[in-house]
Symmetry: C2
């Protein structure tokens, strides 16, 4: 099997898991956050910078690479690792979520999804078999089964039919997967906001031989308590010996709450996306660097941070660059935000090791300044 999960310990205070995911391109310490490199690049960052901030694994998007430059180009390049000069693990998503959120004029049948490219209107088709072919060409360490991600809110009957199709598609993905020896295929639990459907999906998928499981269809507009409730209903149904990945979640509070609920892997565009606007995550909460009060503030972005950005540049300089539309400013905020979340996960792992993740959560929130309301409680 291409990927193996090793459980190191369970936090006595919170139940969170400390573990290691062994992949063909190295070991990932979990819980972990995966920076998103949609188009075979984590926006504005070099591979060396990602390594210097200790990114262990990155995520790339099947839908985007299918459309441009095309998976055959990446295959010819020797796979995605070689194409983008990244020799650590890569996870590729299934393309499912993007087909439903980005593409135009999509038509879903049992066979697959027909849609038009959001770039040029080309008529395209992705089925479970095509999603496997693309991801086999990309050569990611962890591939995702092609799923349907229902909108939120959605009717019970629609979500039920959809998750059953996702199960049938997952089965087809397993069969079509051509490189199980060096690429792991994870299935995606769906079921919307219905606890019994989450259970149904989890039971159907865990009856098949996947080396890992993701939870999809969350963080799609629902409240955080509802998301955590769905995790509480779903995670216990997943096998303890395999990694668990919560898709599309990357706010600091949700990373901690997800870890407490037994999640091992997270990804989100949040840190890189807000960085491009000049919004940064600091130990004292969000900081919008465009704010006029930072014009003559010569201190670092986050006095508690020791990243490249905070060691070398002032708020005044970063504000100047962002206001002047200078790329280097976005590089600096992106670097800091990614470093912030990677450091947070390192702290989470240490807190699990020390059996004090609930205490860590309370301390972090007190400093980060999120009140219960902002956290959705």
């Amino acid at each position: 099997m291409a990927v193996k999960y090793e459980l190191i310990k369970v936090c006595k205070q919170s139940g969170a898991r400390l573990g290691r995911v062994h992949t063909p391109h190295g070991i990932i310490e979990t819980p972990t956050f995966m920076p998103v490199g949609t188009q075979a690049t984590v926006k504005t960052m070099s591979p060396e910078e990602l390594k210097s901030m200790e990114a262990q694994i990155i995520l790339s998007n099947t839908y985007h690479l299918f459309i441009r430059p095309g998976h055959e180009i990446v295959r010819q390049a020797g796979g995605l690792h070689k194409f983008m000069n990244w020799d650590r693990p890569i996870l590729t998503d299934s393309g499912g979520f993007q087909v439903f959120s980005l593409a135009n004029m999509r038509k879903i049948t049992e066979e697959g999804v027909t849609f038009r490219s959001h770039l040029n209107g080309d008529k395209l088709f992705i089925s479970p078999e095509v999603a496997m072919e693309i991801q086999n060409a990309l050569g990611s360490d962890i591939m995702m089964a092609f799923d349907e991600c229902p909108p939120y809110p959605a009717e019970y009957d629609y979500v039920k039919q959809s998750l059953e199709r996702t199960t049938r598609w997952a089965e087809r993905c397993l069969k079509a997967h051509a490189r199980p020896h060096d690429q792991a295929l994870f299935a995606i639990v769906q079921g919307g906001m219905y606890a019994d459907l989450r259970k149904m999906s989890a039971e159907q998928l865990t009856s098949m031989d996947f080396p890992g499981f993701a939870i999809g269809g969350l963080s799609v507009g629902e409240s955080k308590p509802l998301m955590y409730d769905m995790l509480d209903h779903t995670v216990p149904l997943l096998p303890a010996g395999k990694p668990r990945y919560l898709m599309g979640v990357g706010s600091p509070d949700a990373l901690i709450e997800g870890s407490i609920r037994g999640i091992d892997m997270f990804d989100c565009v949040l840190p890189t996306r807000i960085a491009r606007n000049g919004t940064t995550m600091t130990s004292e909460g969000r900081l919008v660097i465009r704010n006029a009060k930072f014009a003559d503030d010569f201190g670092p972005l986050d006095p508690a941070c020791d990243c490249y950005t905070c060691r070398n540049y002032s708020r005044a300089y970063i504000r100047h660059l962002i206001k002047a539309d200078e790329t280097f400013g976005i590089r600096l905020t992106t670097y800091h935000n990614l470093h912030f979340l990677l450091q947070l996960m390192k702290d989470v792992r240490q807190a699990i090791m020390d059996d004090r993740l609930l205490d860590f959560r309370d301390e972090f929130f007190a400093r980060y300044g999120l009140n219960d309301n902002e956290r959705g409680f």
Copy 2:
């Protein structure tokens, strides 16, 4: 004196000079090319990247920093070196060229120039004294005297009056300059495309005690032979013991031809600007990476180059990034283009050392594929 020129040797074949410019922030081997960091950043690059490509000195723009963030902010930051985290030499231009090329509604009097900011329409004023105040606040190693850069073409009488004013302004700059002990002030020879006016300007300015001289008002639309003719008339009038800087010139052919004519320093936005479009300079001439034929070309941008970009990334990958509007693609082309010109100048210095710069020129052009017509002959 803040800056001293050390002549190492003159090329027996071409007459080009090999030298060193000693500055408060280190030594510059000349002839040299200065990457342009208009807004206190060389677009898309980090200081560490500039060092890794062996940039010795960068240029920054007085006009832009005056408008944003304002020189008082930079002064409070401890000067431009500290503000932007660059500890090697910096040259700042005078603001003159930008006032004439970028600003709106400018009005020139003997006192100075009134204009409106191209950013927000604010009414502003720069005189020789203000230009010195700004550059003293920025703390650059080499400052430029505030000059008037006449348009091309321009009438003889206008150019004559203009250069005489530039001389008077240069005198006022010398007087207003508050930090001659640690910042060198260079004067700018004007005179348009009139050989006798170039001579007049050079004679007037060299009669004053400037530690270096620039040649301005060239590369403004005239043919290259005309530019070289003006150099032939001007450079011999400049003192041999001081550095000579040709402003705004950065095409590979002009860097070599300028060196042959005794120029020590060059700057230009060309390499960084064309990089943002995906146009690169290679040992075999210009290469437009967007071209469809590079979609499945897995070789390096320039097989003869050993820069970070060429060692690690393929044409196919760079093309993908540029077409997908990914910043990292522009970082890669920018890095390569700057490295290309810095390496070219290193080769020029070696050729001077070996008394064979004319041979080097012929070899370079044969490979680079510029015919006489493209070079303007």
